[in-house]
Amino acid sequence: MNALENKLTKKIKQDPKANILATFSWCFPIQTIEFKYKPVKRLTMDILMKMVLLSCKQAEIAEPKELSDLLLVEELFIRDLLQNLQNKGLVEKEAYFRLTARGEKQLENGIFEEEQEEETQELLYSANHKDFLTGNMEDLDDLDELPEPFPYASEEPMDVEDEVIFNALQENRPALKNEEKDQDAVQTFITSITSNKIIQINDVPCVQFILYNKEKDLLYTRVWNTLTGHWDETLEKLLTEKELLKWREDYLEQIK
């Protein structure tokens, strides 16, 4: 920890105007959440096309307008899509729009989701950031001792949208590399979560500097997040908002 602090101090001192008033170390909590989910495999087909095909198959649609009213999608879009599907020979029009045999097959491939083995993934969630952080927890194990907890530490439960979780899981899936991502190809999607549970809460150490730029009479802070390995904007903002005026009082002597 000291080594890191020294390294960072050195870095900061490259800027001759940045006057280090104080240095702190502390930890913020990070929740390791275990997600269980069953990814599905299916043909890449965008949802709008899928809905058009599905509607043509299940409902009796005579005019693009009806489909537009049904899906609440611009008629122009629908006309475009229907034209496209007709050109490709996936849809034909008699009294109603109907799927051709090819269309049926295509739709089937698009809908049919081959459920995969259940997978498990752990993500790191910080309630202070309200986001998942990426970093290697193992790197933190090297640290000899952990500093005090962060005064504004938050351990509130996870509060993000499903989509954010799906994206995070998708990005971190180790298998992703094997599955090619080209058009009309079969892909694996994560569309639902079976379960999630917090399996542990760790402390992420940070080094905080309180800096002063005399020329501009500027008080500010820098926080190095050891997990992500970057100057953490979220934590800097949080601290500035809470403590800026206090610093001005505390370090009045040094400022003058």
Binding site: M49, L71, D162, Y220, W231, E233, E236, L245
Partner: protein, 1268 residues
């Protein structure tokens, strides 16, 4: 939307080729026939070119390099160009060549058509007349280009300003170290190797590290003294630095002005595109450059259904903009809802299937405009531009985000739809029920109709019968009518006769009854005659009497006249002797006067001669007397001297006098005589000799006297002679008078005699009459004459009547008999007539009855029951269809609802890929595209969106004409929105004017100065707005932003416009209540001026090495004000006046950048204002923004008179500063400085007016907020 496109007719023309042209074609085909048979017809763009050599027209044909498929393939999409001369026998191609595919084929000066070329020499196709006239109508392209070139050169100055600092070459410097600022947004390098003059130029350039491809950002500041440059970091680099991943590979920094240069290049390209005729609207050049912009009048006003709530001005603007053909201009003062208008126009365009470009000078304005467009399915907004320069409001519309935005919208709509799913079933059941009822009704209707149709068929039969009846009746009516007419005539004839007879009888009887009988009548006549005779005698008597009186008078007069004559005559006779007695001329004159003798010319002449000579005879008596005395004296002397001696002396004197004698006066002669007498008396002893002398002297004098006297004597005799002659003349005159008088005598006597005879006669007549008249007449003559007249007339009448009675009396019986007969005949005729009339009436009544019946039948027949039936049947079919459809819908409903739920689910879980597909669709169909003016000319954008149906440019006054030109080029219709009372274009921190003035001051080049000065005068927007007809412009005059009290401060800036600025807030106090109650601000304050004292620290200060100014005193006041506002907001929240979590938006703005920096520091470093949402900036940067509260720091304050207030002089800047606040405007500055000490008079007036407005609202406070 279906568009009606006329099917392009193919123009077939003969084509003759010169060898040169043929040569050009041979490079691509084996001969021209093969070439022009590549396609049946070609799409060509014809340009009319100048032809100097002939009267023939020349054209250049550009073959479309996309639409001509075969040709495009052959030429690899290059452009074939053929020069031709237009001849009657066809086109004569003089040259053919193939140009690069980048050469534009379509311009607004070319005519696009399909052509078919006949190349066979033997053909007789010729040149179509239509083509000939089309070519003639085309403008000559070079002329238009020259016109544009000439006019646009006046805009060069704008580019010069921008080019001023743009060096051509990149600059490379080395850097020793760098530092990143507190939030990683900027980096500062310590650099080496920049020349002195280059320091200024690098500001604004983009910087990157040598060897890296990532651009760092643009240079914000360059300090030559510190040898540092500060660079605004791009977000990507910021991120890298935070992660400590950004490590420069080299120690060299490259500054490049490619951004500025490419911007200038785009602007220049705009110039040349306009010149080449590439504007979407061919009329654009005339709009821009004609003194009075030439626009096409709107054909008609469109009628619209508005999607937004608009006021009258906004409605007018939208209608006007949509009706306009090529240009519409909207002036929008602050807060007047320009964006609402723009939004409405976009929406209306979208409905009409039109594509709209929303452009503005700044990214902020574009984002602002887009963000306020209503969320509406019809509108698909796309924000085009560099992601990092787009503001938060615009971000959702950038290409990578539109799909998300779209998903959000669609989800929102879908959820609303899902919420009402259950109701749909009931709705459908209800609808089916209704429709079935309707169907029943219709079927009943149909049954009724069928009944009616049967009725109609019967009516058709009846109609024929009734018609026949009527016809018969009409036939029988004819003869009856004729008979009736004859009877009528006869009866009326008889009646007329009867009346005449009756009248005659009646008259006669009346006459008889008046006089009893004929005898009596005769008697009366006789009496009347006697009476008349008597009256006539009386008249005659009286007349004669009158005549007698007159005659007697005349006689008397005649006698008197004779007496008078006689007397005169005698007198005259007697006077003859009197003439002789006249001794003097006066006597004669008196005589003539007495006897009235006129002097004739002779006498007159004699009288005149007499007077003349008499006047000459003056002194006659004196000379006579002196002569006597002289002769006396001489006599005496001769007596004394003796005769002989006297004779001797006399002879001596005579001899002497022959040689001339002396003249003497009478007095002198008298005195000589006296002298001699005295000598005689006084000389006692007298010698004779002594006397000789005297005698001689006297003789001498006698000579003279004799001479004089002789002359006078002659004249005297002449007078006497004249006098005699006059007398003689008078005498003859008298005798002449006497003679004439004698003749008169007999005349007078005759008159007397005649009158005396007349008198005698009359006397006799009167005597005779008086016997007849007997009695004395009392009445006057006129009365009697009048009576006579009446009686005579009566007599005449009576005589006539008498005669008539005498003749009629015997015939009376006969007349009466005739009358009786007539009466009878008439009675018979009338009876016959009445009978006939009854008959006619009968027939008519019958006829009418039948007619009525016929009409009823007609009505029945007229009903188009067949059609009604058909219609009803169709309706029934329609309703049945609807019912069927409803049943179908009902059946489909669960399926569809399921589909919708499925869609909802899918949408919620949309993957990147899904969104990407939607993005593509969305971008394809985007119909409102927003970008900055300059970005609209980027190549990528030009390729995707070459033209727009409508181009709306916002904040026009903030852009320079070359910038405006870029989006304008793309619009078929252009709508400009701006306000020339707000700030003009900004270059750096200065307005265009300020920059121009600076350049003009620096420049020595006269031509350049003139060019630039011209730019100063012209604001494109202002000129257009002022010169356009009313139909093509509109000012928005109702503002909704400011509390009315705040609006009053800017109202004067709009006083000279057509409409005055009004406040559209119904109750300003209510809707613009800030709910704040603090030390500086009370609840009902909306406009406050905190007056700064004229002492340090309230004076302005300047940074040591900067131009900008700041004011520490104002800063301190602002600190306290902000703290007060924060606390007041907190209190308002606590008391429940403001909802929890409210953050008052407060803008702190200043005319000076340095002050803004200090305010920033204050807010970020020294204050914690949790209840305020703060934003700071210069006034210029705040244009277009609005906040609940605005604090304006005015900065300028010096103690010397005539101080400059710099930026604050510009009324447009003040206008912007005052019009940003919704609820509360706080001015912080010195009242004295701005209203009294400022150098410019206009500025003092402007701020004094502002002060008046503030005072009228009791808003003037001192620096501590105490009321002043």
């Amino acid at each position: 939307m279906a568009q009606v496109v006329a099917k392009p007719t193919v123009m077939r023309t003969n084509l003759i080729l010169t060898n040169k042209a043929r040569e050009g074609i041979l490079a691509w085909a084996k001969d021209e026939h093969a070439f022009f048979h590549l396609q049946k017809s070609f799409v060509v763009h014809i340009e009319h070119v100048q032809n100097t050599s002939h009267d023939e027209m020349a054209v250049t044909l550009y073959f479309d390099n996309v639409e001509n498929n075969a040709l495009a393939e052959k030429l690899d999409e290059q452009v074939a160009v053929m020069n031709c001369v237009v001849k009657y026998e066809g086109l004569l191609a003089t040259n053919f060549r193939v140009l690069s595919k980048r050469v534009p084929v379509h311009t607004n000066r070319r005519f696009k058509t399909k052509m078919q070329f006949a190349t066979n020499a033997s053909n007789t196709v010729g040149l179509p007349l239509e083509l000939h006239s089309k070519i003639r109508e085309l403008p000559i392209a070079e002329e238009r280009s020259k016109y544009v070139q000439k006019r646009i050169s006046s805009w060069e100055g704008y580019l010069k300003i921008q080019e001023r600092d743009a060096t051509i070459d990149d600059m490379t410097v080395s850097f020793s170290h760098y530092e990143v600022n507190e939030d990683f947004s900027r980096i500062t390098f310590k650099i080496n190797g920049l020349k002195e003059n280059e320091w200024k130029k690098i500001v604004g350039l983009s910087a990157k590290v040598q060897g890296s491809k990532d651009e760092l950002g643009s240079v914000l500041k360059a300090h030559s003294s510190k040898k540092t440059v500060e660079i605004d970091l791009r977000p990507f680099i910021q991120e890298q630095v935070r992660k400590d991943r950004w490590h420069p590979k080299t120690r060299e920094l490259v500054f490049s002005n490619f951004a500025t240069l490419s911007q200038i290049r785009r602007l220049r390209k705009g110039f040349s595109d306009l010149e080449k005729g590439l504007a979407a609207n061919a009329n654009l050049e005339k709009i821009l450059f004609e003194e009075r912009p030439r626009i096409q009048q709107p054909k008609k006003r469109v009628e619209l259904q508005f999607d937004n709530r608009l006021n009258e001005f906004q409605r007018e603007a939208v209608i006007g903009a949509l009706s306009a053909e090529d240009l519409y201009v909207i002036q929008g003062p602050p807060g007047t809802g320009k964006t609402t208008v723009i939004s409405e126009i976009c929406q209306q365009n979208a409905k009409a299937g039109l594509k709209t470009l929303v452009a503005s000078q700044s990214n902020l304005a574009v984002d602002n405009a887009l963000s306020r467009l209503l969320a509406n399915k019809d509108i698909r907004i796309l924000r085009y531009g560099r992601t990092e320069s787009i503001e938060e409001e615009g971000k959702k519309f950038i290409e990578e985000n539109v799909a998300l935005y779209w998903r959000e919208q669609t989800l929102h709509d879908l959820e609303a739809e899902l919420a009402i799913h259950r109701d749909r079933t009931a709705e459908l059941d209800l609808a089916i029920d209704q429709k079935e009822k309707e169907l029943q009704g219709l079927q009943q209707q149909l049954a009724v109709l069928e009944e009616k149709i049967a009725e109609q068929e019967q009516a058709e039969k009846d109609y024929v019968i009734v018609e026949e009846d009527i016809k018969n009746l009409k036939k029988s009516l004819g003869p009856l009518r004729k008979e009736q007419r004859l009877l009528e005539e006869k009866a009326s004839e008889l009646t007329a006769k009867k009346i005449i007879e009756e009248k005659q009888i009646q008259q006669f009887e009346e006459l008889l009854s008046k006089y009893g009988s004929l005898e009596k009548l005769e008697e009366t006549v006789q009496e009347k005659q006697t009476e008349v005779v008597k009256l006539r005698q009386q008249v005659s008597y009286l007349l004669s009497k009158g005549e007698l009186e007159k005659a007697e008078l005349a006689l008397k007069n005649a006698r008197t006249a004779y007496q008078e004559w006689l007397e005169n005559h005698r007198k005259l006779q007697a006077s003859n002797e009197a003439i002789e007695e006249c001794k003097k001329i006066q006597d004669l004159n008196v005589f003539m006067e007495e006897h009235h003798i006129q002097a004739n010319t002779k006498i007159e002449w004699q009288r005149n001669s007499f007077e003349r000579i008499k006047a000459q005879m003056f002194g006659y008596n004196d000379w006579k007397e002196v002569r006597n005395r002289l002769n006396g004296a001489i006599g005496y002397l001769e007596g004394q001297i003796g005769v002989s001696e006297s004779q001797r002396i006399l002879q001596k004197v005579e001899i002497e006098t022959k040689n001339g004698y002396s003249s003497y006066s009478i007095r002198e002669i008298d005195s000589a005589i006296d002298h001699f007498k005295r000598f005689l008396l006084e000389t006692p002893d007298l010698y004779i000799n002594q006397l000789y002398v005297y005698l001689e002297r006297l003789y001498n004098r006698r000579f003279f006297v004799e001479e004089q006297f002789g002359m006078l004597e002659n004249q005297r005799q002449e007078i006497m002679r004249l006098f005699q002659m006059m007398k003689q003349e008078v005498k003859s005159q008298v005798s002449y008078i006497l003679n004439t008088s004698k003749q008169h005598e007999s005349g007078l006597l005759n008159v007397g005699n005649r009158w005396s005879a007349e008198v005698e006669q009359l006397k006799k007549k009167i005597d005779k009459l008086s016997e007849a008249v007997q009695e004395e007449l009392t009445e006057a003559l006129p009365d009697i004459q009048h009576q006579l007249n009446i009686q005579e007339k009566e007599l005449e009448q009576l005589t006539i009547q008498m005669q008539s009675v005498a003749t009629t009396l015997p015939k009376l019986k006969q007349i009466q008999d005739t009358f009786e007969t007539l009466l009878k005949e008439e009675e018979d005729a009338l009876e016959n007539l009445a009978q006939t009339e009854v008959k006619v009436k009968e027939i008519n009544t019958k006829g009418l009855l039948q007619e009525k019946k016929l009409k009823e039948l007609e009505q029945i027949l007229q009903q188009d029951l067949a059609r009604q039936k058909q219609y009803t049947e169709e309706t029934i079919k329609g309703v049945e269809n609807i019912i069927e459809k409803l049943h179908h819908d009902k059946q489909q409903l669960p399926i569809k609802q399921k589909l919708q739920q499925q869609w909802h689910q899918l949408l919620l879980n949309a993957s990147e890929h899904d969104l990407d597909e939607i993005r593509k669709l969305y971008v394809n169909h985007a119909n409102v595209i927003g970008t900055t003016c300059v970005a609209s000319a980027r190549k990528e954008f030009m390729d995707n969106y070459p033209t727009f149906d409508v181009v709306i440019i916002d904040e026009v006054s903030k852009a320079t004409p070359p910038e405006l030109l870029l989006p304008m080029l793309k619009g078929k219709k252009i709508i400009l929105v701006g306000d020339h009372h707000q700030l003009p274009p900004l270059i750096g921190d200065d307005t265009l004017e300020e920059t121009l003035k600076a350049i003009i001051d620096e420049s020595d080049d006269l031509q350049e100065i003139n060019e630039l000065k011209k730019l100063l005068k012209e604001s494109l927007f202002e000129r257009l707005f002022k010169n356009l007809p009313k139909s093509n412009k509109q000012m928005l005059a109702i503002q909704y932003r400011m509390h009315e009290n705040i609006m009053k401060t800017i109202a004067p800036f709009y006083e000279n416009e057509d409409s005055h600025l009004q406040c559209g807030l119904e109750n300003s106090d209510q809707v613009r209540d800030h709910h704040l109650e603090g030390h500086y601000v009370k609840r009902d304050d909306h406009l406050i001026w905190l007056d700064m004292p004229s002492r340090k620290p309230y004076f302005e200060e300047q940074m040591k090495n900067g131009k900008s100014r700041f004011n520490p005193g104002e800063l301190d006041t602002i600190r306290h004000t902000l703290l007060d506002l924060n606390q007041a907001t907190e209190m308002a929240i606590t008391s429940g006046n403001l909802p929890k979590g409210t953050k008052k938006s407060v803008g702190v703005i200043s005319f000076y950048g340095e002050q803004v920096k200090k305010i920033d520091h204050l807010i970020q470093q020294e204050l914690k204002l949790d209840h305020l949402q703060l934003r700071t900036g210069t006034v210029d940067r705040f244009q277009g923004m609005e906040m609940d509260v605005i604090i304006v720091s005015m900065v300028r304050n010096t103690d010397h008179k005539g101080g400059d207030i710099g930026f604050a002089n510009d009324y447009r800047r003040l206008n912007v500063a005052l019009s940003r606040a919704r609820e509360l405007l706080i001015l912080v500055g010195s009242v004295e400085m701005f209203t009294k000490r400022a150098k410019k008079k206009e500025s003092r007036a402007m701020y004094s007016h502002l002060l008046e407005v503030v005072k009228s609202q009791n808003g003037l406070r001192d620096e501590e907020g105490k009321a002043k």
